[in-house]
Symmetry: D2
Subunit: 486 residues, 4 copies
């Protein structure tokens, strides 16, 4: 565990096949899983529908996805429809330890705790990938549930290495994390000869739910390096327009509040990026009475921000008046050390995009003349030579998961219903799908939405046959052309 | 002119080649056109860019699009880049008479006034289609700017008739308007033999900007009846996500206020449909303090509405408590006479979708036991046997154009920039495009947005080469995959 | 009529005792009055309650209040409870001519039309004050309904003059309007000797509903010059926190839209003053997607604006980036000619405070090198030597009344219910009230609110006796201490 | 500590004169106090201004106010201006243990930890009142900072007892807490004869900051039982319109999220009461996309809620559809056990008003057939015979303080600036003030606001002398009449 973990002693339970912070938290976790099940009607409905048929019966599934209470409901759904599941988190700070404990207590292998080091993180990922073959060796997963693409990356890079291409593994690492991955791959290469080739042999597909991870998949496909069929869950409407938008609207302030207890009203909050995540973030901050400034590279998104009444300008233009900075872009170097040095004293800096390179954290941490003070876990103060300090949250990782508990259950039910449908779909079509990136069909997207209506009291209007014919759609839908943007 | 026109005498000017309400309004119209030009930076920028090259030099263009001040700027843009333009409105109530007068005064043929009868309306459409050939006959347009698809419909139906298929023209009409169209076609068929065939011969394309009109085009293409290449301007992001959404947010309340001067705060407002138009409408009404109830058929849109805090239920469920009803669907029979009869006394009923069949206006007007009182132009009271009255605005036609002046210039600049680019594109590719429906490429969409930023003070951030490579896009864009929803 | 009136000929009807623009508009006015009655439940309820008792039976009442549809309902309420009413508008642009016509047609003397000159305006005020005594002379009112205090001012100044103090009347006028008043007083002094003394003899009280007018009354009372008891209707919660706040939220954008059809989204809108009127104005503009900047002198109101996320700065700081300026202060010289000269080209300037001196209109109009273009009634363009133009709405007078139709009926029902209760109260206590400024008691304030709940479907919770005792209030209310701010 | 405290062992430090949960948290507390000082510019400014003069030099001050980080800044301000301070919390759940530790570590006596029993709570209150006289006995405070009035109550009841009136102390208690108080008073009566009389002898005043506590003071004053001058800090605009409104807007969702991680979007949230606290609560919930229903007894507040677009109805009307209930009234029995039994399964019930009797918690806890499950500290599930469960937060006490950390620093800086000014004022006027309830003068209210502007970048406009004269106020303010409502 890294230096930021609270000094309270933490016991790593290793009896059986799991690594969690404290197995005694399982009861508490179970109580919260029970609550979450009531808030996840779509996912639970799919669980009930497919439990008997068990479409994933015996299928080895590795998940790399924030080990939260909501994810626990996803894991148990996958198990109830037959899967053999192993799980790791996809972020060093995002695990809810009571959720991990509750899952571990049921005998499902889980490898995750809040506050892992990067070395521990990638070891956990490997553990989640390693299904004991009963003969002292390991099999890989048949399906992967990915979030950010770390499992997909690891397998692809491991396979590349076993195929004889050592160029990447031996090249200088661009970051500490990259070095950690390379070291791991070298170690596995030494210890488990041929492991990745075995993994790839059985691997039938991956479903991926982040903008960033999906982007990686399209790049792999474009370079014709993608090893398996993939489903882009992120771009289901009921994912990107719900989780990314409403999820962030619910959880960004939560992260800021638990970290800093800061008054948002009256503050100048700079949101970098106005995609779905940025839209949700900006809406939340404004609702609290913050004055939101948006930065954008895309003229369409910039114009949208302006139409909503946000000031749109460059980050340089906000230095000295911005109180809070949030990156939401999926790109890198959005907030540089030069930016941070020029910020107003006491500025708060955080990221809600998937990777921590949106903010130049490593550069900040290694910079001369910068004093570091840890306030509490996931809250660090950096003081510059000019006397100004900034607060960096969750070391630049996802602030809503690092400093709070991530998105709430109801919105995750949408995302995870899509994940589950994608897993079922990948397995059902494992013999026919090509090594490319698929989207779930619109009727499933609509079905996911439909499963969430009753819980919140929505009554849907039904088309008459005559009306349906008039607009040229089936009475039952789907109702929109594929290019429709919602 | 119909019975609802104000009793003030109005002179129809017919000197030269136009029909407008009052040519003396031209000066006033010109002043407002000048103001609008300042508010339409994108359109004006395209005008300036292409004026010298004149890409539409000598091209005959027929426009069927609300004859407003903003449209005047579009018309003059098309003329400045070379086109030979004739214009009609696409709605009997949407013409701003001073705009029409100003255009007429410059010598551009325009056929439009506020408060046409349906017969007059379709005659105007024919006039706009009829370019004198200098020999006493008429040529048709080479390009069409359409809004709702009436010109496209007329040519297709006329051509069908000349091809010998009289079935449609002779079938019983489903509405008064349908009968008017059939009568017109029969008359043309008698008076101008072969006219439609001539028209189709020269016709190179249409650009269409409404959801409804685009839907018609896709249907024609699917049935392989589409006679020309078409560009779907509606689904440019800078159209559907701006005009439909922000345009309605700006203009719905404007229509309600000018018609009824009603207090919106505290009222229950029912918005039928939660597409882009519905989203804008609901946002506007809520912002005034109305309690908005949404009706939807699509579970995804319904869930979106719920996530924004709207009650989502059926229209039946709102009868007796709804004070204001707005249809936004593009479908028909959304508000039936049975609904209207059961509404709360003094309910206000209007439509902001393209066609007037969203509300059963014809049935209402011909219903026994319903007393009609005209309050002022475009505002009618209908009193039912139960003693309750409802107010119907703009006879069920577009309330923002019928009762106010439609969308403001800035947002129309986006739509019309797309229209202009589409016209240029259609002409440039007239020899290669197939008879199907095209979308404008994303880089043009982004360009349209970009042209509107400076006016409202937006400063765009520029990607570094390294950042662009990291996310795999050119530094100059386009920045998003085609399936991106904004 | 002044130069801005539309060139359409207008006939002034003078048969009988009224001056209105066009008596033939009476039918239309009546239809809209009928609609308004349904939207004014509080006022109508008071009318029904007091009609039989006729508490103002035979009492001469002069009203000086915007002659709108809503005011027509007030006038007819006063008449139904017994009063003998004469009416003028309190603003040269605020009359709705069909409302005035409808009232005139019932035989109630009314002197008001849209677009009066200042001379005409003050003559109308005098007409409204002059009740024929049947002997060729005139009696004054026994009660006055005032809005802005013009009637109160005129009587006080006239009386001062008749008391022998000619200093004010003979002093140089600070504005054209002041000169008009002085001229009128001199003329009356010459023509109707002792008139004002007669007026004051019978005058029993005034109810005043504007911040500005109330302020004048408190000043008069402080200087011990107040001639009659006055009721400050403005500071009833159901007036200032409704009419000023929600009324402006409903009507400011209406004025801007009817005047300019401008897109508000994306614009920088500067609201000068953040009292109730400013709060309503800012909320409305923001709801449309404008970026609102507030100017304030009061640190408490400034902090409130900041807590709502508005930028708060000086007007100087906004010059060059503000697109729309709205004054709401009740103070003067808020926008100077120097400000206007430095504004962004095409800036829109208007006022929603009671008096037109918030903007330096007279100075602007008489300034050298400024070109003036009238666009349409109540919309004027002024072009400065630097080439920039600004648009001035309603000549700096109340933009919502000058360019649209003012506040909607429902909110005015609250204000006018207070006015009516105040008139009844003044008459009932005419023998006991002192020459000072009174507020209506809280139980009447609550009663006014209560009368408006059913119309909009509000169900009130009722205290148990035990709960009422616990918080120390009667079960029926009043529920709050007098200092409570709502 | 009660049963809900986490099973982690907690050491009570009693070395020296304090009782806190864990003195080792002092360093962390100090870091957060440092951050808070930057967010509390008003309070820090007053500290700096008065540090030299030390207006409270040697004055014994007892505080009974939530022992949070912000309160720590208040305590150190009082100390820096000379006071001798002892402190307790005013709520069993509201203490931030690291804040208490940091204060204790400086030697200031503090008696507070999160999760006290009621017995411990009142013992702490007594400790805070007991200044060692150096002779083995105790002196009382000379000034009291109160929040909810518990200290004031205790002294008044103790004094009453010592005056020989034993009726209250011996009467049957209406609640468990009342019995605890009576037991304490009896014990003190037995152990410290004459203590309360000594206390009252030296007591010069109290400043009180809650609606509820102020209400008690006015009642005491009305009954002529108030023993000292009191300042009503609650009704300073910069307190009630900031802390109550914006504080709750910031912290209600924070409490809900930390307790339940619940998605607010799409939920039906019932806010009982629409005073300042209710207004802030409703605004926050709506901003998250919840559908807010308001209950009210006061027609004016009900009409305000309706004008903001909230449904206003009775609580009975919401049972079965409400997902979240928040009481904000200051009254009792707002949510009864009968209500809770009839709620939708999984409903969340909490209170943000000062006292826990808004919800019938004691009745719920002692009800037959109700199963209780503790989820985690301050989150309890109660399951009824009908199978439905509800979640009760913070045992019905202040949810923002019980489940989160209360209001953020910036808004508390306003409240505590008022508290500090009130303490200074009470001491300065100790010889002249009567035993009644005072308000701080408006110029101090404006000063408090002014001290908070710079931090958030507000630039104030300054009146010219001419403008100030025109509206009849000094250039420096105060700017508004006392009855102005903001």
């Amino acid at each position: 565990m890294n230096a930021q973990t609270k000094p309270d002693a933490r016991r790593f339970s290793t009896e059986g096949d799991y690594k969690v912070a404290d197995i005694s938290l399982a009861d508490w976790g179970r109580k919260e899983i029970d609550i979450a099940e009531h808030e996840m009607p779509g996912l639970m409905s799919i669980r009930r529908k497919h439990a008997a048929g068990a479409p994933l019966k015996g299928v080895r599934v590795t998940g790399s996805l924030h080990m939260t209470i909501q994810t626990a409901v996803l894991i148990e759904t996958l198990k109830d429809i037959g899967a053999d599941v192993r799980w790791a988190s996809c972020n060093i700070f995002s695990t809810q330890d009571h959720a991990a404990a509750a899952i571990a207590a049921t005998g499902t292998p889980v490898f995750a705790w809040k506050g892992e080091t990067l070395e521990e993180y990638w070891d956990c990922t490997l553990d989640a990938l390693s299904f004991p073959d009963g003969k002292g060796g390991f099999l890989g997963p048949e399906l992967v549930v990915d979030d950010g693409g770390d499992v997909t990356l690891l397998i692809h890079k491991g396979y590349e290495l076993e195929q004889g291409d050592e160029s990447w593994v031996n090249a200088a690492a661009g970051s500490h994390e990259e070095q950690v991955i390379k070291n791991l791959l070298k170690r596995v290469h030494a210890e488990r000869r041929g492991f990745w080739t075995t993994v790839v042999r059985d691997w039938k597909g991956v479903s991926e739910e982040t903008t960033t991870g999906v982007h990686r998949l399209y790049q792999l496909a474009q370079e014709q390096k993608l090893l398996i069929p993939a489903i882009n869950v992120n771009d289901s409407v009921t994912k990107s327009k719900f989780d990314n938008l409403y999820g962030c609207r619910e959880s960004l302030a939560d992260g800021l509040k638990r970290a800093m207890d800061v008054m948002l009203a009256g503050k100048v909050a700079v949101v970098c990026g106005y995609g779905d995540v940025g839209k949700g973030s900006a809406a939340s901050l404004r609702a609290y009475g913050a004055r939101v400034v948006v930065t954008e590279i895309d003229p369409i998104c910039a114009l949208q921000a302006a139409m909503e009444g946000y000031e749109v300008t460059t980050i340089e233009d906000t230095l000295g008046r911005g109180d809070i900075y949030v990156t939401t872009t999926g790109n890198k170097d959005i907030i540089t050390v030069a930016h941070m040095q020029a910020m107003k004293d006491q500025a708060i800096v955080c990221n809600i995009g998937h990777f921590d390179n949106e903010i130049q954290v490593e550069k900040l941490q290694s910079m001369n003349g910068v004093a570091h003070t840890n306030i509490k876990p996931q809250v660090d103060k950096y003081t510059f030579a000019n006397g100004n300090s900034i607060f960096l949250l969750a070391e630049g990782r996802l602030v809503n998961l690092g400093c709070a508990t991530g998105h709430p259950s109801f919105v995750m039910s949408n995302s995870f219903a899509n994940q589950t449908l994608a897993q079922i779909d990948l397995w059902a079509n494992k013999d026919t799908y090509a090594k490319k990136v698929y989207l779930l069909p619109k009727h499933l997207d609509e079905e996911v939405a439909r499963l969430h209506l009753e819980k919140i009291g929505v009554k849907l209007t039904r088309l008459t046959k005559e009306q349906a014919d008039y607009i040229g759609v089936p009475v039952e839908g789907p109702f929109k052309p594929d290019h429709y943007r919602y």
